[in-house]
Point group: C2
Chain length 380, copies 2
Amino acid sequence: MFHVQESPAKVFATDAAGTRTELPALWLRERCQEPESLDGPTQQRLFNPHQLDADLALVAAEHLGGHWARLTFSDGHTGRYDLRHFADDFDQEDGLPTPRPWNSDIDFACITRDWEALSDHDAFREALETYLRHGVIILQNVPTDGARLVEVGETFGHVRSTNFGKYFEVCSRPESNDLAYRSVPLAPHTDNPYRDPVPGIQLLHCLTNETTGGLSTLVDSLAVAEQLREEDPEGYRLLATVPVRFRFIDDGVELIERRPMIHLDAMGKMDGVHYSPRLDYLPLMDEESTKAFHRARRRLGELFAHPDYEIQFPLGDGELMMFDNNRVLHGRTAYDPNEGFRHLQGCYIDRDGPTGHYRAIVKQARPHQATETTESVTAA
Amino acid sequence: MFHVQESPAKVFATDAAGTRTELPALWLRERCQEPESLDGPTQQRLFNPHQLDADLALVAAEHLGGHWARLTFSDGHTGRYDLRHFADDFDQEDGLPTPRPWNSDIDFACITRDWEALSDHDAFREALETYLRHGVIILQNVPTDGARLVEVGETFGHVRSTNFGKYFEVCSRPESNDLAYRSVPLAPHTDNPYRDPVPGIQLLHCLTNETTGGLSTLVDSLAVAEQLREEDPEGYRLLATVPVRFRFIDDGVELIERRPMIHLDAMGKMDGVHYSPRLDYLPLMDEESTKAFHRARRRLGELFAHPDYEIQFPLGDGELMMFDNNRVLHGRTAYDPNEGFRHLQGCYIDRDGPTGHYRAIVKQARPHQATETTESVTAA
């Protein structure tokens, strides 16, 4: 993948299709790997590369054999490079498993794990991978004696307190004087688009559900947005670029944020939505664009609730679902609280908990690079 | 600002320059204000406007006098509108004070307040406004007996735990066997650009500083970025659009995020930076763009540390500085730990704490709108 040319001195990256890209001198110089420039364990730089001369040039490049090279720059710096380290920069997923969009055909077993089994290191790594691919995992046998969801949250990341505290209660009790009352369904939505930052990952733990309704619903916005993009590219573009105003008023706070409904990450890849039809305000555009925007958001809502995409299932006692609050929308069907108790607990953790753990675990599991390195140098 | 035309039925918004913009029917219909459509206290909708017909039209508009109108739509809905509510959509600041960029000429008194005085409601509102305008506030007389910064943080928002816990310690002690050691300076930076989400607001509380060095430094990226934009528009554009990879490796986690160094909000307004020269990786571009990008980031670093922009000051015992972690960069000058103890405590809160409180307090302070409203209707 990386090729060293000795005269004139150049280093190239070659992709799978054979296209060569020259790696600029500043790019290379900043990635020098000597212990005096780079701290081994943290991979943190010991110099400030922003201060390098902008006209820095590569003056010599020597292939040392294997994946090793010696590069010399016009500022006098010379150093040995393990070219394999450059691969990190070309990894579109930054070390994470590629997301696998799903629809309602999803095999439930593939996203369900036993909580107690995750104390095993390999099982935990595999559960992280499952969560990262699907944006959701369902854990069974989480004890219902107290706020055990906080323990689960702290295993995957750090629980993030809000005005509800460390976790919140979702419960209803049967009340004989309110027989006609049926708890309303909640259409698929993401939580708190009016917050900065938006909660990253939600955990919902069922302590007890004695009602026959109140099914949990989940839907993958990655799959739905892709269908919208195919059906209506212009509508998709509007939802991904024109910010909507979200507002929420509560005791002592008024929260307002503007953000597009379809979220693209810094690399332009769609990774989730901000979707809460009770809280958003159509942005001001001309009549034509307003209609196009509205049609796209209406179609998005239809697809989120469509049986091809939405799954509905009873979250049983002791079951906990953990999902990316922006990638995977959640909701529930209606239920009759007079049938019995229904009690769930919820909390949020930051998105970089599972990703941070996953990368570290995968790296630990790799054959030790330092050893390999020494051998290659000897051979060169 | 809002004008109702009865035939043909149209509603217009007029800006300060006299430019009229027609408000589309869907935009108006979604903002209906009857109690059966909109919950008064929370201003939350009781219907899903995404399901409206995209070809909805305004069929009648009647000016009722004052700021009141009756609008009728092709779906049969008719409702009275208080036109003043539309102003929220045209408020670029969403109810917040306009940020006031500052340089090293800033009058210190204007960002310094007494912590104990903030128990007064008006003083608290005024402190929030100061913080929101400058991105920083310094509080004096915060007691040094224990982790009182958590109390300060909970007054302005919610303390956000990280792997350091609820707060972290920054301290050094004199050690007779290490006389030569000088604690290194920290150039201006923002914290944790490799996290998702990035910490929003940082609190740093000085419990004691017996050293003569170790001055705290702060610099406003709003002022600095504006100078860069004037000097080098193309470099500014590159820093604001091309994502940089940030990486941090710690015990058990490897965190990677890609984001541009200059951050634009959803409306395209610059509101902060991600700046940490030990942790970023130059993105792969052609040679020319690489040099242009590098020149711009180097200039940005020069300006951050320039005496025209950076302030240096001793943070005294019992003083606490609270600053927007992305708008205002922080650092410290070198110090000699052998001169005495230096002990600070730090924590993070979310960015929507101060903004959410400020909007609610300002709204409370307004003449009661419901009363006003009734009077206008009577008059009409």
